[in-house]
Symmetry: C2
Subunit: 333 residues, 2 copies
C-alpha cells in the first residue's frame, strides 16, 4: 500500500513514447511534435509526475542549486544580502543551500566540504576573509564562486562590493569638517582585508588630507555585535576622541547606547557615523548617520553574476563595485 513514486519510465510507458521523449517535453526541448507533446503532458498531469531533481542532477551534472555561506544569519547586514541573493536565485530557478559558518574556523571547512559534495553549481561566499584552506577547497573543482560584501586580495573570484576606501574616507572627512580632530575608528577584525586594508586606509587618507596625524590608539578592533559596541564605549571615551566612524550597525548601535546610557549627548558632545544603513539606523534615537550600501543589490548582483558564470557567459567585469552614499541623520551635527 506504499505510495508508489511515479518515474519518467511510467510516463513513457503510459504515453507509449520513449523516456527520452518525455525528458524532452519536461525540459522544453523543441524537437517534439506538438501532438506528442500534448499527449505526454496529459499523462504527466494524469499521473501527477514530478521529475526527481536528484536523478536529474546525477545524469546532467547540473543540480540547479547554489551554495551560500553566511557568517551569521541573524545579523541584519548579511540577512539583507541573503535576501537579494535569494530573490535572484529564485528568479533563475536555483535553490539555495545555506550554511552558516559562525562556529569558528574548523567548522567552516567541514561545512564548505559538505556543500561542495552536494555538487552545487556555484557558490556565494559572504563574510569572513578567505583563508588558505578555504581557498584550497574552492579551487579544487571548477565551481564558480562569487564573494558578496567580501574582498579577496588575490582577486581570484567574482565579487561585489562598494568602494570601502572612498566610503570611509568620506565619512571620516565629514566628521573632520564638522570640527572633530580626534576621531575613533571602531571596527571588526583587522584580519579581514575590508577592515585592515581598505577601511583603515580610507580613514588614514581622510586624516592625512586634513593634515591630522594618524594615531593608532584611536583604532579600536572588536567584533560585530551589539554587546561589543556597548563594551567598547568606555575605552573609546577614555581615549579622548569626540567622534567615531563605526563599521557595523549592530556595533554602532551598541556603541550609541553605551554613550547615551553614560549620559553623553549625541551629536552635541559626540558624533557617530556607521556603515551599513540597515533598519537599525532608523530604529534608534537619535537615528544614525550612515554610509549607505545597497545591501539588497549587493546580494542580487552577486547572484546574477554567479548565474552568468554558471552559464559560462562572457563576463565583462568580475569585480564589481556598487555605488554608495552617505545618509545624514541625527548622530552628526
Amino acid at each position: 500500500m506504499e505510495k508508489q513514486t511515479i518515474t519518467i519510465y511510467d510516463v513513457a510507458r503510459e504515453a507509449s513514447v520513449s523516456m527520452a521523449t518525455v525528458s524532452r517535453v519536461v525540459n522544453g526541448n523543441p524537437n517534439v511534435r506538438p501532438d506528442t507533446r500534448e499527449k505526454v503532458l496529459k499523462v504527466i498531469e494524469k499521473l501527477d509526475y514530478r521529475p526527481n531533481a536528484v536523478a536529474r542532477g546525477l545524469a546532467s551534472h547540473r543540480t540547479t542549486t547554489v551554495g551560500v555561506l553566511i557568517p551569521d544569519i541573524t545579523n541584519i547586514f548579511y540577512a539583507s544580502l541573503a535576501r537579494g541573493i535569494n530573490d535572484v536565485a529564485t528568479m533563475y530557478k536555483y535553490n539555495i543551500i545555506l550554511a552558516s559558518a559562525d562556529e569558528g574556523k574548523h567548522k567552516t571547512d567541514a561545512v564548505l566540504q559538505s556543500i561542495m559534495a552536494k555538487q552545487v553549481d556555484g557558490l556565494i561566499y559572504m563574510g569572513q576573509h578567505v583563508d588558505d584552506s578555504t581557498r584550497k577547497e574552492l579551487d579544487r573543482g571548477k565551481t564558480p564562486v562569487v564573494l558578496a560584501g567580501t574582498v579577496d586580495p588575490q582577486d581570484k573570484f567574482g565579487s561585489v562590493n562598494i568602494d570601502y576606501v572612498a566610503a570611509i574616507k568620506e565619512a571620516t572627512s565629514r566628521l573632520i569638517a564638522s570640527g572633530n580632530q580626534r576621531i575613533a575608528f571602531v571596527t571588526g577584525p583587522l584580519s579581514d582585508p575590508i577592515n585592515g586594508q581598505f577601511r583603515l586606509k580610507g580613514y588614514q587618507e581622510a586624516l592625512s588630507d586634513a593634515k591630522i596625524a594618524y594615531d593608532e590608539s584611536y583604532v579600536f578592533e572588536t567584533e560585530y555585535s551589539y554587546r561589543a559596541g556597548e563594551a567598547v564605549w568606555d575605552a573609546v571615551k577614555r581615549a579622548g576622541v569626540t567622534a567615531a566612524v563605526v563599521t557595523d550597525d549592530e556595533l554602532a548601535v551598541g556603541f550609541l547606547n553605551g554613550a547615551r546610557d553614560a549620559k553623553v549627548k549625541i551629536p552635541e558632545d559626540f558624533e557617530i557615523i556607521t556603515s551599513n544603513n540597515t533598519m537599525l539606523t532608523e530604529i534608534v534615537r537619535p537615528k544614525l548617520t550612515s554610509i549607505a550600501q545597497p545591501l539588497y543589490d549587493i546580494g542580487a548582483v552577486a547572484m546574477r553574476l554567479l548565474t552568468k558564470m554558471m552559464n559560462k557567459e562572457e563576463i565583462d567585469q568580475k569585480t564589481i563595485l556598487l555605488p554608495h552614499s552617505i545618509i545624514t541623520r541625527n548622530s552628526t551635527k
Copy 2:
C-alpha cells in the same frame, strides 16, 4: 587537461577491492577488516576522493538535506529560529535548503515544489498559515514536516511553539494590573491562527478575568514591520487606549517610535509589551518589556524533532510547547 573527477570506482581499482567495500569504509560500516579499511582510507586520502552526494542520494533515497521555509529572512524573529535550526542540522550532518517565501502565495507553492523535487529528507515550515494547497503539497509524499513558531489547527504535523494564549493573557493581565482599562491589541494578520485564534483568545481571557468588556475597536490588525508600527500609532492613540500588547518586535519598535516621535512618554503615559524578546527590545529606548520566547530553542527543538521523525524513531510528543516568560524592561510601569 580537464580535472578528472575521482569516483568510488577509481578508489576501488587503486585499492584492489570492490566498490562495495569502499562504500562500506566511507559509510563507517563495521563489516570491514581493519587492514582493508586502512588500505582503502589510504587510497582515499591519496586520491583525495570525495563522495558525490547526488549519486549517493539517488542510490540510497536519502539526501541528508532538509528544506526550510522562512517567510522573511531579514526578520530577526525568523532569523533567530533559523539559527537554532541550522545549528542542530549541522550537528546531525544535514544541509539546509533554504527558501524564502515572502513573495506572496503563488510563489510559495512553486518554491515548495522545487524543494520537494530535490528530495529533501524533511521539512521545517515557519511563518504563514498552512493553507490548503500547501497542505496538499506536503501530504503527497511521506516527507516528515515540523512547524516552527507556527501552528496548524489540524495538528497534522510536528510543531514547536510556546503557549500563545497563556503568554498574551499574562501580558495583558499585567497591563490591567498596572491600572490600564483600555488596552490595544496590535497584531499581524488574524488569518494566522496564532493571532486570530490563540493570541486573541489570551487577550480576551485576560479582559474577561478582569471583568473588562471586550471592545473590537481596540484590536488592530496590520503587518509585521517597522513601518506598519509607525503607521498604526495614530489610529491606536485615537482609539483612546492607554497601553498596548504588540505581537511582533519590529512592529512594536515602530509603534514605540511612533509614540515617542509624537512626544508621548513611555511608560508614564502609555505602556507597551511586545512578544518576541529579540535584540530589538534591548536596542530601543526605553527598552521594551516583552514576552520571552526561547527563539533559538524553538528552532533547535524543531530540527531535533525532525531528525527523530526522519530516523523513524518513536516520538512521544509531536506537538511541543516550550516555556515562556515575561521580561520586564522600561516600557511598562
